[in-house]
Symmetry: C2
Subunit: 216 residues, 2 copies
Amino acid sequence: MTDCTRTERTRVRRNPSRGVYDRAVIDAILDEAPICHLGLVDDGQPLVLPTIHARVGDDLLLHGSAAGRAMRVLAAGAPVCVTVTLVDGLVLARSAFHHSMNYRSVVLLGRASLVEGDEAKTAALEAFTEKLVPGRWPEVRWPTRQELKGTIVLSMPIDEGSAKVRSGPPVDDDADYELDVWAGVVPLSTAPGEPIPDTDGPIPAHVLAYSARHQA
Amino acid sequence: MTDCTRTERTRVRRNPSRGVYDRAVIDAILDEAPICHLGLVDDGQPLVLPTIHARVGDDLLLHGSAAGRAMRVLAAGAPVCVTVTLVDGLVLARSAFHHSMNYRSVVLLGRASLVEGDEAKTAALEAFTEKLVPGRWPEVRWPTRQELKGTIVLSMPIDEGSAKVRSGPPVDDDADYELDVWAGVVPLSTAPGEPIPDTDGPIPAHVLAYSARHQA
């Protein structure tokens, strides 16, 4: 694991003190976020699509239907941007201008390549499933050859990118600290609710563990 | 308010039954989501950046630092994509293949134009503030001319776009309903925590109302 290169394209220019190129920080954000936003250019038009991702070592995996346009554009080697954002809180400053969010985001640039072969594709689908709910893969019916054929899996190296992190209290102009305005942070997090079963029988341990982990 | 046009670019092609072009649905998603992901093309490279947005009638407002590259690219009339995604749950199917997410997303395409003049820019900043935490704007110190000068505000019409919505239980292949695999949905939502004050004094009503609204 090597840190991401700080290219002219990925250097954090706005609020550079928030820029992080450390792979441990980048990986933790990629691993925590349930979804990413995938950017591509289609006939000159930028498109941003929500999808799920999984990190395996130094690669980020993406997948989609073989019939879908986005996957085919990317499989052909088009440049891609994958952005992941975790919203951690609203930052309520004394001035309107200094209102902000606490967040952790990652922007990765690169090109994706096709993951081919039933074994490699199955391993990738295992990674997606286990990332969302660890312990789920051994419990479910695994993909058939037909299902694998209908799925495109793409891999992109995690080598050109950066994280951007804001945390902590509001930062106001000196003079504004005199004002009688309540300031502070409202933390935000993603919280699971009670599972809604579609089957009879007890809720399995891996599902309960998922809920417990995220409520902690 | 007119519904969004279903152009060749915004027609939902994958799972077309999930496509929604109804402005009431689109607006509700835009209004609920705290952030969007903004897509642009910079020298052939797609870039996806998290930012906040606010809807005012038939327009979506964006803003950023006048010193930032993205805002300048968009202010020059480059094509833009704004995508908003609310993750509502993990859909745990009997088969790995039919695992999914419940979500509500909106993809808007278009071009943005500059919002100019101190009055119009101030009104836009009010819209951002009030969208995040209703009741906040009257309490805070408003932008100075210098702050307005340092802020670019962009407006794009909400006319070419679509929403995509998945809700409800997993949908498995007929044969898989026989399997002894627990299936169901784990709902996910954004939950505020206890406000962390940066000032003395009681937490004001608009902040308490924000927390209460989101916990309901």
